[in-house]
């Protein structure tokens, strides 16, 4: 009986996993007031000038998160401050390549 309940709980958990919503990742957070943010296209233009190739950009944890290729040719995911555009974190498949001190 207990085993059956456990099995049912396991199935319920699986159902929950299927319906779990995506949210902020928490890898990096910025708390600048949104009114002061500069635009994403402005960040992309600046990065391209520095030799980045940008594929996608979005907001994550109040920072700008950019997917693309850095000037060294690494395929990375990078976080930038939405106001200063300061580079905060660069990682490749979970490996941290750069982190602001």
């Amino acid at each position: 009986m207990i085993l059956r309940i456990t099995a049912a709980a396991a199935l319920a958990l699986a159902g929950l996993a299927v319906s779990a919503p995506a949210s902020a990742t928490g890898k990096m957070t910025c708390d600048a007031p949104q009114a002061k943010w500069k635009s994403i296209p402005a960040l992309e233009a600046r990065l391209k000038k520095q030799g980045w190739q940008v594929r996608k950009s979005k907001v994550d944890g109040g920072c700008y998160e950019v997917y693309g290729t850095d000037p060294k040719g690494n395929r990375v995911e990078a976080y930038f401050h939405p106001v200063t555009f300061e580079k905060l974190l660069v990682s490749r498949r979970g490996e941290v390549l750069f982190k602001k001190k």
Binding site: A10, A14, A20, T25, K27, R93, E95
Partner: protein, 200 residues
Amino acid sequence: MSRRALPKYLFWVLLALPAAMLVSGFWNRPEGVYPGDFLHPSGEFSARLIILALVLTPLSQLLPRSRIVRWLLRHRRAIGVAAFGYAVLHLVFYVLDMEGFGNMLAELGAPAIWTGWLAFLCLLVPAFVSNDRAVRTLKGTWKQLQRLAYPAAILTLIHWALIHDGLVPALANFAPLALLQLIRLFRFTRNRTNPQRSTT
């Protein structure tokens, strides 16, 4: 669910349907959508099919009368091979997304990546011996080769957890499998130490 067994080919079609949708979605992708955007769904299908294939035996021990479990158990080979099929699709999207082997090599050392490759290699073997001829010729070895699905599952879990903040969804997806296998182990050891006790 109908009491009559669903014809085998219909089950295959059912398993291939999400793949067909992914491929057609990829073919008709609008600008700004990359092969990498298809990594998550293809990988997730593969992982869930591995999980499904591996929960069926412990589930059937817990629920010996369940018709659905028995029915799925009859189609377990198809489920396992489909898990491999989705892993292949996942790999194809990865190769297309990385645009060159140099990029793939550069990140091979990342645990999130090499666990994925290893999981794929582990799945490759059981997939290739998933036919009646291999069952006949390999005899006892066949079962052992099929058991590579377990390390494949564990590696897939790690791969998923490490890649793109996937810890919570990966654990949630694999929890039922872990739980059922634990119950199976518990019952197995209990029966061994105390053979008189019933298992119900």
